[in-house]
């Protein structure tokens, strides 16, 4: 599946800030879209869209922090860079505790924002790659039969075929056949790889 292009969303009630940031981002070759309010952004944002968010803290109506909360409820993983002209420590701490990627005080240098945006975009790409990987593993897990799943759980606990056979009350040969199917369905080249896969999807 081809990746969607990354977009930086700028949400700020100040026209001048929105326009200057959009221009700055475009001058750096970064696609940007703007919204004048949290409501405007939320009404059109799709969580599958990769990118990052540059979000003003204080806006009329829903504030930036409230919008972050709403995004968390929706399961959005988009990195959020807060910008504010009136930041204080409790506000910054609250934003970071709720998962903000960064918190920047106005006025800031253009390069300062661009650096953070680039880091946020890199983080978003990493997160999405990791999630795609774990999704694939979950799909493969779902393709296993109940018996194959039992064998998988036991072999990844370090049990030898003979012990697995004893635990499940089947012959060692049967375990070997199930194990071969597990390796094939999971597309694992070795037991170590299988263990790593299971660890990556462990809760």
């Amino acid at each position: 599946m081809k990746d969607l292009p990354q977009t930086v969303y700028v949400v700020d009630d100040d026209d001048a800030v929105r326009n200057s940031l959009k221009l700055l981002l475009k001058s750096a070759g970064i696609a940007a879209e703007t919204a004048a309010s949290a409501q405007e952004f939320l009404s059109s944002y799709d969580v599958v869209q990769p990118g990052c968010l540059v979000l003003d803290v204080r806006m009329p109506g829903m504030s930036g922090l409230e919008m972050q909360h709403e995004l968390n409820l929706r399961g959005a993983m988009i990195p959020v860079i807060f910008i504010t002209g009136h930041g204080d420590i409790p506000m910054a701490v609250e934003a970071m505790q709720h998962g903000a990627f960064d918190f920047l005080q106005k006025p800031f240098r253009d390069q300062e924002l661009l650096d953070r945006v680039q880091r946020a975009l890199a983080r978003d790409a990493e997160t999405r790659t990791r999630l795609r990987h774990t999704d694939r593993i979950r799909e493969r897990l779902a393709s296993l039969s109940p018996r194959e799943r039992e064998v998988l759980d036991l072999v990844t606990q370090g049990k030898a075929n003979k012990m697995v056979a004893g635990d499940l009350g089947v012959s060692q040969r049967t375990v070997e056949i199930h194990r071969a199917h597990v390796m094939q369905k999971m597309e694992a080249g070795s037991l170590a790889e299988l263990v790593r896969m299971m660890m990556s999807v462990a809760p």
Binding site: G87, D88, I89, P90, A92, V93, M96, Q97, D102, F103, Q105
Partner: protein, 136 residues
């Protein structure tokens, strides 16, 4: 029955003596550190290592309930320390005390693993509340 103070230190449960978890305050002999220690005077089992290195050592050996880093240690590489402490103790609450309005410092500390950044003065009560929560 072992007594319990208002902050959840001590106490007993099902006949067992509850462990008193240590509050580690890392700070040099400064007025700020003294203010932090005074703010936490209602708690038992507060220890006071005077360097980040020593504080990290204490988190390894003591039954650490939380770590409070006073701002007068900031000449030491606090961000690296926070990362190291976080790698060692995924769930240890770590509070960084800072001057009011140093937002950039607070954000950096949060990014590197601080649980919260507390400005002192004036937030002594915030510090006490955070530490109480951490010990529960």
């Amino acid at each position: 029955m072992v007594g319990s103070d208002d902050n959840g230190n001590g106490g007993s449960r099902d006949g067992e003596i509850a462990r008193v978890r240590t509050i580690i305050v890392a700070g040099q002999s400064s007025q700020r550190t003294q203010e932090v220690l005074n703010a936490l005077s209602g708690f038992t089992n507060v220890i006071w290592p005077k360097s980040l290195e020593s504080a990290l050592e204490q988190t390894r050996s003591a039954d650490a309930g939380c770590l409070v880093i006073a701002d007068d240690l900031r000449e030491e590489p606090i961000d690296e320390f926070l990362q190291e402490a976080r790698e060692l103790h995924r769930n240890l609450p770590i509070f960084v005390i800072t001057d009011p309005d140093d937002v950039a410092e607070a954000v950096s500390a949060m990014r590197h693993g601080a649980t919260a950044v507390i400005e002192i003065p004036p937030s002594y009560s915030t510090l006490r509340d955070e530490v109480s929560r951490a010990l529960q």
